[in-house]
């Protein structure tokens, strides 16, 4: 592996962390969704680069899933839901943005300290960097989930967390089942999106299945 290969994979994984930080301070839903698409695009590039330097053609499938499904289909579907439900207001955060950013930096430092120290003997240089940066993305995703109250932005937090996991899986050299895992996660995300839709619709129009509910409500409580 040349040092250029290493630098590019480092650059792409680092960009993913950077985009995770940008997700943290967005206060508009549409901007958040656009940035998520950028997050997924960065992931697709990082995975495709790993496929190239590891000579692992199956990783191109993972990259294609990230590009097609996560960068295009899911943000599109979420944007539609947001538009239809008219919830494109500001996002209420549970914790202030300054504090969130500080916590985010602490988490990145933590993941660097833990992963770089732990993997010093075991893994190759690329895998080490990737694991450390992937853990940072995962922790930033978790942070986003706890600091947001809005269901859509929680889901975006979860999806960015999941992108970090895919990055970790592709960084581990020759790991089998990466494609399967990425498919399994895509199904999960699709269901979450359907879930929000049902959940939100239910909240807004008070029911998903009007006939079934109105009849039995009185009996239930």
């Amino acid at each position: 592996m040349t040092s250029l290969d290493f630098d590019i994979s480092h650059l792409l994984a680092g960009s993913l962390v950077l985009v995770s930080f940008m997700l943290l301070y967005q206060d508009r839903l549409y901007a958040l969704l656009n940035l998520y698409a950028l997050h997924a695009l960065t992931l697709a590039l990082a995975v495709a680069w790993q496929a190239r330097i590891q000579h692992a053609p199956h990783l191109y499938v993972t990259a294609a899933i990230a590009l097609g499904f996560k960068a295009i289909v899911i943000p599109g579907a979420l944007r539609r839901i947001v538009a239809r439900l008219g919830i494109h207001r500001e996002i209420e955060t549970a914790v202030g943005i300054g504090l969130t950013m500080l916590a985010g930096m602490a988490l990145v430092a933590l993941s660097m300290v833990v992963m770089l120290r732990v993997t010093s003997g075991a893994a190759g240089a690329v895998a080490r960097e990737d694991l450390a940066l992937a853990l940072a993305v995962v922790l930033l995703g978790l942070l986003m989930m706890v600091t947001r109250r809005n269901a859509v932005s929680q889901v975006v937090g979860f999806m960015s967390l999941e992108n970090g996991l895919v990055l970790a899986a592709t960084g581990a050299k020759g790991m089998p089942l990466v494609v399967e895992i990425s498919v399994a996660f895509s199904v999960l995300i699709a269901l979450i999106v359907v879930g929000i839709f049902l959940f939100r619709i239910r909240e807004r129009f008070d029911t998903v299945d009007i006939a079934a509910l109105d009849q039995f409500r009185g009996e239930r409580r």
Binding site: V114, M115, R117, V118, T119, G121, A122, A123, A127, L131, A134, L135, V138, L142, M145, A151, Q154, F158, L161, E162, L165, A168, A169, A172, K173, G174, M175, P176, L177, E180, I181, A184, V187, L188, L191, I192, G195, L198, F199, R202, E203, T207, V208, D209, A212, L213, Q215, F216, E219, R220, R221
Partner: protein, 480 residues
Amino acid sequence: MTLATPALVLLIPLSAAVLLAFLSNHRVGALVNAVASFLTLLAAVSLLIAPHPAADHYLMIDDLNVVFIALNCLVGFTSSVFSASYIAHELETGRLTPAYLRFYHAMYQILMFAMILALSANNIGLMWVAIEVATLTTVMMVGLYRTHEALEAAWKYFILGSVGIGLALFGTILVYVAAEPVIGEGIDAMDWTVLIGRAAAFDPALLNVAFVFLLLGYGTKVGLAPLHAWLPDAHAEGPTPISAVLSGLLLNVALYAVLRFKMLMAANAGTVAPGPLMVTLGLVSLVFAAVMLYRRRDIKRMFAYSSIEHMGIITFAFGMGSPLANFAGLLHMTMHSLTKSGIFFAVGHIAQVKGTQRMSEIGGLTETHPWLGWSLVLGVVAIAGLPPLGIFMSEFLVVSSTFARAPLLAVILVAGLLLALGALLLRLNGLAFGEPRGGMAPVKASHVPMLAHLALVFAAGLYLPPPLVAWFQHVASLLG
């Protein structure tokens, strides 16, 4: 002999799920569901008695997981029988429609499939995928009633479960990264049978971090405090057969995953001991749930907290890790599965006849519905850990093995157990005795699954067959 392969135990629920997805008649559906579960149970029993087939890259059967599989299929079968009478009532009152039932039955079999796959997987990646599928199916079943509360419970379960599953995946990847330099790239480095044989050469620091992620990730699915927040809602708002399966089986499956990785840690001399982590989480869950039991108003929610308590005890026992404590943990897990699902069978019918889950509106059950009432009494006495029932024995073993090694921990353990006992008996008094409250309509219920479970627990409290004891002792020594 050819029949005793893990493939058969997996194929029956999978093909039944496909069949059920196309069966629109709900009575036939319920029957097919029960028959398929029974066939799965038979296949599981054949696994139990036949010699273990050789492990391949994806599936394996060994002395540890065969116990879990057999228990899983047994409770899966009795729950399917209970489910048939439960849903008939739900249809009558109109809380569910036949279209939902088709979905429900197909999902039930997919859930069984996913749980058995997770238990028999030889590949840590496959195990992760199977637990994810099981989570997704239960999420959909928890939201089945489409009420506001049910959707909210499903949503909470979804988000928390997904985060747990995500952390577990990160841990799984780290285990692969630790194994790859020793075993080489590819599928071998994810095979359980290969991993455990060569774990001694793995990098200990990496394994330590991996185990923390795995414990937190799968621990969320076990329902350990403070990661338990999804559990009471999911139990209370879903259909009761699913509460029984969640409490009795799915929590065990997640615990099984934790145990597998604990064995991996034990096989490597350089790692930190996983025991103290599990002991701490277990004790926190036990004491927390015991206190929370006092404040419950909803009957299903109360037994959900009791599940957290018992999963805490089991995790504690496995964390202590002496052969006796492991034995007690296995026994307690079996007894808890049987008792708790039995209780949920009773509670399901009780909530149906009374038309409510609020405990303040339920009373005098032993007078109005003697069968249900006395079953509930027996079940609660069992779950509270009073002699002579099975749980008393396993709790006694946990406590006595702890006293021998760490008396201080044993004091906390006993305090938690007594607190929980007090709360359960207090509530039981109001539910089962005194002035009858709530609906008096006679119950059309099948008492057989409930009574079968309680009879097993009662019998186990009086007499454990020596072959079973020998088997559990053998498995306990494997757990290390």
